[in-house]
């Protein structure tokens, strides 16, 4: 049966569960440094070993999941919340000045890589997880606006939209009742892709020091700090790397599975 849905839910659920659990319990205190215990390989006391400062890796990963998921999730919400309505309006008013303004504004944002936006914001507000969210979120807006407009346009030409217009429905109602549900699968898939890209982007920003600041752990910064130790204690780099890979993979699988599960035409066909 829907293997992708189950596996995707399992992988991404693990990351979310780890993040949730870290609020109430972690195997060890992550602010507790224990230099003598540094770079220990995985053992019964430290399931995933310890890092260069002797902190428990499992605890670090769990708390780091919070940062990664929160940053990526909020960034996707920002991107969807602003991008989807903009895309719907642009599609409904195709060819008008409104459409042009929205889409050219998007092009403008697209012209700056998210890293550059992050550096700009950091220059203005200082580095922090919140600023990483804003940077990634802004970058998500044109992605969603474009995907929404692009997938809404062919639907606007279909007969059932004309039937809805003959039934007297206006632009807003048609967009909400007909267009949005029919492009929801595309948006969900795009949402999970952006979510996983957000995790990667957060990791990237933290890696160059523009994301979460110490002592808040983040998967990206853990990778960055492990870089110099990869030859003596590979697990320090492998563990956060694997966490990113598994979560991103899980989210992509989840997106695929959700798309199929949400479409009544595909229901029961597999």
């Amino acid at each position: 049966m829907r293997l992708s849905l189950i596996l995707g839910g399992l992988f991404s659920g693990m990351a979310v569960l780890a993040a949730m659990l870290s609020f109430v319990w972690t195997p060890a205190e992550i602010t507790q440094l224990a230099i003598p215990d540094k770079l220990l390989p995985p053992s019964a006391a430290h399931w995933l070993g310890t890092d260069q400062l002797g902190r428990d890796m499992l605890s670090m990963i769990m708390v780091g999941a919070r940062t990664s998921i929160a940053v990526a999730l909020v960034a996707v919400v920002i991107g969807m919340g602003l991008g989807v309505p903009l895309g719907l309006v642009a599609a409904a008013r195709k060819g008008s000045w409104l459409d042009e303004t929205i889409m050219r504004g998007n092009d403008l944002i697209f012209a700056f890589p998210s890293l550059v936006i992050a550096i700009l914001i950091t220059a203005a507000l200082g580095p922090s997880a919140v600023n990483a969210i804003i940077a990634i979120g802004i970058f998500n807006i044109p992605v969603f606006a474009r995907v929404t407009r692009g997938s809404a346009l062919p639907i606007w030409t279909l007969d059932y939209i004309r039937a809805a217009r003959v039934a007297g429905k206006g632009m807003t109602l048609i967009s909400l009742q007909h267009i949005l549900p029919n492009i929801a699968n595309i948006l969900i898939v795009q949402g999970t892709i952006q979510f996983s890209l957000g995790i990667l982007a957060e990791a990237g920003l933290s890696y160059v020091g523009l994301g979460a600041q110490p002592p808040v752990p983040s998967w990206g910064r853990m990778l960055a700090e492990a870089q110099t130790m990869i030859s003596i204690a590979p697990h320090v780099a492998i563990v956060p790397g694997l966490a990113i890979v598994v979560t991103v993979l899980g989210l992509n699988l989840l997106g695929d599975g959700l798309r199929d599960a949400l479409d009544p035409r595909l229901r029961g066909s597999r």
Binding site: L158, D159, Y160, R162, A163, A164, R165, V166, A167, G168, K169, G170, M171, L173, H178, P181, N182, D263, P264, R265
Partner: protein, 534 residues
């Protein structure tokens, strides 16, 4: 000669096609006729060895005595396109948009005959001349988008016959084309069969297309050939009851609806015009005039047909009447109310008319249940408390009963969907229903049922219809008056029987001449028994 011997197709033990025996002789046209899902296209794909994965063939397909079903794929590739070739329904997607027509025809020759480029181009030129695309009007350097649908189908034919195949399979080659173009393409195919001594397997759902063209006719039903005989015998002395049903349905006449002589006008369209800017051109004189100073009137309880070929402006006119697109001059009145396009057209005026579209697949939001779909026009009138009962009543009106309300549109067949579309149009009791090619996509027996239903509903609810179609025979069956439209103008109008029996305008005559017709004296079963069985 190509012969199929007990050809069958199964999908995991499930038989899809069985016992198909056809003899496709050189210089002969064999028609494969049947409704959608009867296995016509499957037969063609099985002969070509192009079945989807998972399907298995049984029996033999013999090309001059050798079974080709058992051949390995590389050898089949040498046969496909060279010995057996195929053209499809949709000329718009059959050609590569990035290659010139000359290159496309030449490519097939280079592949199959190993011709050098220059010689292949020369032969391509000759083949394109043969299908009626001569120099200098149609140089080899044209791209598909520079051609019309009929011209593209000609290119597709040139491509298919480039290597002079033994057999050409034409799968609904004219279904997407206008009647006049259809007549030309059919004529071209018949000429090719005669001159090149190839055999043609013509797949179609339209019996009339076949009449007067095919030598043999094979009628398919549920994956089996139920009747296979010379064309004359099939039309004059059909043996199988299914063939008789098909013939009867094609010639069926719905009940007569009488109109009052002094009925007041319902829809008045006066002198409307609409033109579009042509891409790349800015000046006013270069605008494409889609609707040119058109006036028409539909009276209460009247059914009016609007006939024209693609691009004649009938869609633009429809959208203008529905208040979906603005017009540039003229006026439209429905029951005395002005119709102005835009999002703010009064709901009460909109509620006076509804529409049924051609495509039974695109007409419904795939995520809505039937009850939600059918109740959508209540947006105009406010949803009454008993809306579910009203939906059930409207569905009952169109002959849909049982547990249809909570199902989705994709669970229904084309004919059922068209009934649901009618229910949606009926639910707020409009006075005018615009039927935009509403039966064109339906199989002949389903079409007969829908036409009967339309006549019945007209009597019961006193509806008026604007029946838009390219098919004169359907228009004759259902309308009181007919308007013939060409290049944005209405060239002829009058009572349907008068216009179709004594056409005045040359264009009407041309349309009538191109419309395929069944032979006059065909054997029919008694009409009552037929409707009982359906």
């Amino acid at each position: 000669m190509i012969e199929t011997l007990d050809l069958g197709v199964t999908l995991t033990e499930l038989p899809l096609l069985s016992r198909v025996n056809l003899q496709l002789k050189p210089g002969k046209i064999t028609a494969l006729v049947g409704e959608s899902g009867s296995g016509k296209s499957l037969t063609a794909l099985a002969i070509m060895g192009l079945l989807p994965t998972g399907m298995r063939t049984k029996g033999r397909v013999e090309l001059n005595g050798d079974d080709i079903l058992t051949l390995p794929e590389p050898e089949l590739c040498r046969i496909r396109g060279k010995r057996i070739s195929m053209i499809f329904q949709e000329p718009m997607t059959a050609l590569n948009p990035l290659m010139t027509i000359g290159e496309q025809v030449a490519e097939s020759l280079r592949l199959h005959e190993g011709m050098p480029h220059e010689a292949a181009l020369q032969r391509a030129r000759e083949r394109l001349d043969r299908v009626g695309l001569p120099e200098p009007r149609f140089p080899l350097t044209l791209f598909p988008h520079e051609l019309s649908g009929g011209q593209r189908q000609r290119v597709a034919i040139a491509l298919a016959i480039a290597a002079r195949p033994d057999l050409l399979i034409a799968d609904e080659p004219t279904t997407a084309l206008d009647v006049t173009t259809q007549a030309q393409i059919l004529q071209l195919l018949a000429g090719l069969v005669r001159d090149e001594k190839m055999s043609l397997l013509l797949i179609t759902h339209d019996l009339a297309v076949v009449a007067g063209l095919a030598d043999d006719v094979a009628v398919m039903q549920r994956g089996a050939v139920v009747e296979y005989a010379a064309a004359n015998d099939v039309f004059r002395r059909p043996q199988h009851s299914y063939t008789r049903e098909l013939l009867a349905a094609a010639a069926h006449q719905p009940r007569l609806v009488l109109t009052k002589a002094d009925a007041p006008p319902l829809l008045e369209v006066s002198n409307i015009s609409r033109s579009y800017a042509v891409a790349g051109k800015r000046s006013e004189t270069d605008r494409l005039i889609a609707v040119d100073n058109v006036s028409l009137t539909i009276h209460e309880h009247e059914a009016v047909g609007l006939v024209g070929e693609s691009g004649c402006g009938k869609s633009t006119l429809t959208r203008a009447i529905l208040g979906l697109d603005p017009i540039q001059s003229g006026q439209i009145h429905l029951s005395g109310h002005d119709i102005r396009a835009g999002w703010r057209m009064p709901k009460a005026v909109r509620a006076g008319m509804q529409v049924v579209f051609q495509d039974p697949y695109g007409s419904f939001d795939p995520r809505w249940t039937v009850e939600k779909l059918v109740s959508e026009p209540f947006h105009l009138t406010g949803r009454p408390k008993d809306w579910r009962d009203r939906v059930a009543e409207a569905l009952f009106d169109v002959g849909m009963t049982g547990s249809v309300m909570r199902r989705y549109a994709h669970e229904f067949s084309g004919g059922q969907r068209q009934r649901i579309a009618l229910a949606r149009a009926l639910i707020i009791r409009p006075s005018l229903i615009i039927l935009d090619e509403a039966v064109s996509a339906l199989d002949v027996r389903v079409r007969m049922q829908v036409l009967d239903l339309l006549a019945k509903l007209r009597v019961r609810h006193g509806l008026s219809y604007l029946f838009i179609s390219h098919d004169l025979s359907v228009v004759r069956q259902i309308t009181d008056r007919v308007l013939i439209m060409r290049q944005g103008k209405i060239v002829e109008s009058g009572p349907t029987s008068r216009v179709l029996d004594e056409p005045q305008h040359p264009y009407t005559r041309q349309l009538l001449a191109a419309t395929p017709r069944l032979p006059q004296e065909i054997a029919l079963p008694a009409p009552e028994k037929l409707s009982d069985r359906l």
